[in-house]
Amino acid sequence: MTRAHRSLHRLLWPILAIAVVLGVALALWLRPPPEPGQTRAIPLEQLG
């Protein structure tokens, strides 16, 4: 890697690490409680 690549690498990874760890932690913290009988299929009324 050239000096410029290394500089970008050193700048990018700490930012990416903080952003992603915060994002995942927030997504975990804020996720809604499970609904009983939840299904992944599209509800019939949405199929038109």
Partner: protein, 347 residues
């Protein structure tokens, strides 16, 4: 300027590497499907397709985790270097698995005659202002587009056409794609799936990858700080000739300049740029094989005497003047034109 397109230069090592990759992907998908099918058999076709979506999605994520770990692992421990050799094919295969993941997603909508719903999800603009409820499929789609761009430009033709410097910058977009994929899972699958396995694998994989990159970066910075200047001159001190491993190199760095690899082959000492002309690989981490400096990444070779690749190859490296003063090898950080003979014989 024009660049001739050459077919992929297949050899036995590449075929074995690719064979192991394909077998690994097939084994992972088969194991995932058998276990998931056994644990909870799908009730209908969309459920069965959903299993494939998860199997291919998790497979692509794990592949990218491994791909992104190979570079820093090879820096930290030379035993991982063989994994670097055909990493580009690994990346292209990861893109193909991600593409299959996307095609199953389309299939999931199509079998329910609900393809417009996907368009509606992606164009539900108010949802882009939310965090939970953000259209996570759009995040995955952006990551897939980045992977496509990287896979499409992975061939040596693009490496030469774009220049190794620009090509490497472009391919550093993989880091961003990986971050987007982690968020795609965190805002999508992790919101429905209550098993602690999903967040554990997701966070664990990302922490390992980020940790390896940060650790390798810190070690590189230490290498740069260690280089001393010879007193009273601009030359850099490398150390006694014996401090350079025979048929190996020591890497020095001028402040604000590129790194220099100072090699020793018996009593011959020469200095070349640390950047391989092929893909900017770290030449100083390579060895001298058959009298030539050999890049640890793809075994591109250069003569120690003048930095030229042996015929019929035409690549040339920037070289540097070296001298021995008071028993210490020193290198002039002013680069010489590529292919200039500058190695010396000591003792």
């Amino acid at each position: 300027m024009s660049v001739a397109l050459r077919a992929v230069q297949w050899n036995r090592d590449k075929l074995v590497y690719d064979g192991i990759l394909i077998a690994g992907v097939a084994l992972y998908l088969a194991s995932y499907l058998v276990l998931a099918w056994g644990a909870e058999p799908p009730k209908n076709l969309p459920d069965a397709i959903d299993l494939w979506i998860r199997a291919t999605g998790s497979c692509a994520f794990l592949m990218l985790t491994i791909i992104l770990s190979i570079g820093p692992l090879a820096r930290l421990d030379r035993r991982f270097l063989p994994l670097l050799y055909n990493r580009r094919h690994f990346g292209v295969l990861a893109f193909l698995v991600a593409l299959v993941h996307f095609s199953f997603l389309l299939d999931w909508y199509i079998v329910q005659h609900a393809l417009p719903n996907l368009g509606a999800e992606l164009t539900n603009w108010p949802h882009y202002a939310r965090f939970i409820g953000f259209p996570f499929k759009a995040v995955g789609l952006v990551a897939l587009l980045i992977l496509f761009l990287l896979a499409a430009t992975s061939h040596d033709f693009w490496l030469i056409f774009l220049t190794p410097r620009a090509w490497k910058f472009l391919h550093m977009a993989l880091y961003v794609a990986y971050g987007l994929i982690v968020m795609h899972v965190a805002l999508g699958h992790m919101q429905d799936e209550r098993s602690p396995l999903v967040p554990l694998v997701l966070i664990g994989a990302f922490v390992v990858v980020a940790g390896l990159h940060l650790r390798a970066g810190r070690r590189e910075r230490k290498t740069e700080r260690k280089t001393d200047r010879a007193p009273g001159s601009g030359w850099l001190t490398v150390g006694p000739p014996a401090a350079i491993p025979d048929k190996g190199a020591r890497i020095v760095a001028a402040p604000g300049g590129e790194r220099i690899a100072v090699f020793r082959d018996g009593n011959q000492i020469g200095a070349v740029t640390n950047l391989c002309a092929h893909q900017n690989g770290p030449l100083g981490e390579g060895r001298i094989v058959d009298g030539c400096i050999t890049c640890p990444w793809h075994a591109y070779q250069y003569r120690l005497a003048d930095g030229c690749a042996p015929p019929p190859f035409t690549e040339k490296l920037v070289t540097y003047r070296v001298r021995v003063e008071r028993g210490l090898v020193e290198v002039d950080p002013t680069p010489l034109p590529p292919g200039t003979a500058a190695a010396i014989v000591v003792g």
